[in-house]
Symmetry: C2
Subunit: 140 residues, 2 copies
Amino acid sequence: MSENRFEEILRQHEIRPTAVRILLLETMERFENTFSLADLETEADTLDKSSIFRTLALFAQHHLLHVIEDGSGATKYCLCHNDHACRIEEMHVHFHCEICGKTFCLDNVHVPVIRYPEGYEVREINYLIKGRCPACRSKR
Amino acid sequence: MSENRFEEILRQHEIRPTAVRILLLETMERFENTFSLADLETEADTLDKSSIFRTLALFAQHHLLHVIEDGSGATKYCLCHNDHACRIEEMHVHFHCEICGKTFCLDNVHVPVIRYPEGYEVREINYLIKGRCPACRSKR
DNA sequence: GTTTATGCAAATTCTTTGCAATACT
DNA sequence: AGTATTGCAAAGAATTTGCATAAAC
């Protein structure tokens, strides 16, 4: 069988394309915003929690997805849309709505690069805004 | 008995100064960096976890402390050193070391204010950097 | 056939709540 | 007295691990 798009993405990130991983990647792409482990469990209900957990860890390690701690109690994830490892200049900002609990990727808002103090080695930046999203603001 | 400094701080933030709250505020001030609920439990070992938990929530509500999700599994907190509610322009950046697990306040690095998309109401910003701290970098 | 990945079940960790007892005003 | 706070014990929620089976190469 010919290589599908998902297999290709996995290989690009040096991840062995197994059935579970392809299915999960496919599932992740269907989410508009960010997703949690529980979201994936619901969508891909043939898979076990622990397999999803380990797959998420693997994908994060290989820079196929971003990890977002939004303080909601459950870790959120979103696909990284760069082919290779994410450079800091390309990272985008996330928005967590305190009313509906959703977390959005603000894809076109880049993380501002600032002067960091000497001595620290920067590997990753999480820029998370909390507040009310447009939908929740318009409701009263 | 005359008003001590901790009582004064609590009153400024419209928090009733009880014995537990004064003790916790005092304990929090002794931490150089950020602290977790477990850290407070160890330091103030006469107090119960649930009292600490509720005090943290109260202090956060009244903008006496910042809540930091650093992805370490445990929520971190740090005292807010402004007298009043924290304006976004005054918020500072945090650094989480992936080696030693400590989270630092970079007090003199302010959160850069950027153009946010229309429609979102910004209430709070968490700018968290992950990487290696100076101490862990110098160890080999 | 050997290595790697997965599912199941259970353990761990951190957070949160109900309720009775205590302290404050 | 009446309200707000605290401690104890237990529940909840999310994450993580051990181990036996199954899949991949």
